[in-house]
Symmetry: C2
Amino acid sequence: MTFERTIKEYQEKIDRDIAALTQEISSRSLRNPISHIVRAGGKRIRPLITMLACEAAGGKARDAIHAAVAVELLHTFTLVHDDIMDNAALRRGLQTVHTKWDANVAILAGDTIAALALESLARTRSPRSRQIEEYFAEAFVEVCDGQAMDKDLEAGTTADRKKYFTMIEKKTAAMISTSAAIGGAIGSTDIRCVNALSRFGKLLGIAFQIRDDALDIVADKKKFGKEMGSDIREGKKTYLLVTAAAAARKPEHKALIKKYLFQKGLQGADIKKMAALYIHTGTTAHAEQEIHELTAKALEELDILPKSDAQKHLRFIAAMLTERTF
Amino acid sequence: MTFERTIKEYQEKIDRDIAALTQEISSRSLRNPISHIVRAGGKRIRPLITMLACEAAGGKARDAIHAAVAVELLHTFTLVHDDIMDNAALRRGLQTVHTKWDANVAILAGDTIAALALESLARTRSPRSRQIEEYFAEAFVEVCDGQAMDKDLEAGTTADRKKYFTMIEKKTAAMISTSAAIGGAIGSTDIRCVNALSRFGKLLGIAFQIRDDALDIVADKKKFGKEMGSDIREGKKTYLLVTAAAAARKPEHKALIKKYLFQKGLQGADIKKMAALYIHTGTTAHAEQEIHELTAKALEELDILPKSDAQKHLRFIAAMLTERTF
């Protein structure tokens, strides 16, 4: 089957399963906000990776559906809670749960989504269910730890490349790595396959986050859903910032970065100056190079798998995530 | 071994394991609040039930340690988040996490404790690990659903006995039932044992919650950690309220209950009047009767298990929880 048809079929299956799961919640005050966020959609990248990884490892994609739903819901849970912490008003083009309802509803809705994730995971029939549970639990811990690091970095006044990479490995890459590893473990008994898929997911996750950071100064608001330079305005410790901080030599560049760090972000004309700094210090070019190398390494990991449509589809997903312009 | 020595030994093992787990969190900003709440202690009732249930079912208590830690941490996670939603200032005699730090820290600390719970659960070596995961996931969903029902009931103006029982089954009894069932599933392959332990936990959990509600009008602040009549002040839909509402016949009683419901709680002299109403309508005696019957039924469930010290210890725990005066 073509990439588009396969993806559409899997996405629909994932959506149906998620909708059915949310019906298990008996209190309406909880079911409404949960439906609101889980139906808001998103690209379902993580569960697609789980299903395709299972297939690419030699299994049947449908055997990974419950685990796929589990990783998507775990991701959704983190979004609901992160949006409270980040004071975010919009998510996937819709009002965030804590904005449409309130913070208490969003806390409990998030918790329940995590619980449903676990319920779905427990439905996976696999001789390696304990290993799968371990991968899942580890990603759960990592994503929380990563969010804490992100908040700590945001509050701090340093731009540390090493800490940045540790943070995104935990906050972004661990979940994508786990999505692939769990699919692999359902589809194959060969631990080398599972580990290769895990590394594929991790490298892809890092590349994906750098792409996300790089898009801040080029993205089209309509497509990307946020203003150009909003990371700069909010003083986020992005790939661009930590890389520019390490490379900056000119006094005016150093001064601007210092201002960014100590004021926790820039305003007005300084935003454009910072974007220009990223370009002139070669930071944006460096990001492209790094994304390219990470993606290439990620794809190499797939070479251990037998040639298949699913393997090809995973390559498409990798390209989609790392080459996207919005 | 005597009850006291066994309990002390198991509690120490649980505390050590929990302390070790929290060290796995790398961000200090998260480790401190987590240590604060997990070290605050509590009686560790749920994990003790898990270990004793495992032993009573024929297994070794130490085989249930990871699962025991998991149920305790799942319980702790709900406390941290419930305290945010309930605006509670104190927990286990210490400042709540959102009071000592802030709500964002408490959200993330709670999430991480849930993640650590799952990590601990995944360490359980058992041929029935998938079943154990299912029990755990179900309790996780139930406890969230129960908290939502509790909040809905709090916001409403009716006193519905049926809804009250559904709510406490989800919010309190499901976790205790699961604690016992998981221990049983680790210790025995006999599903009848596991189901009996599950019912034991459920009945015990309901009795425990009714005891907790009944103590509101007799409890000593120093021992119980909260003011006499604080449920009345906060307008909680307790066992006493829903039972009195169903039994009240005198106009002045009906009027007071209506006031309680529509004002969401009572103030000043009305608090003592309400406590008197509970006594005069026979509500408190009814609570004693119901606790007694539920506990007896819970204990009957243990008869299917072979006679053992662990079985005896479970009976002690049941007595402790339902006969306590603080």
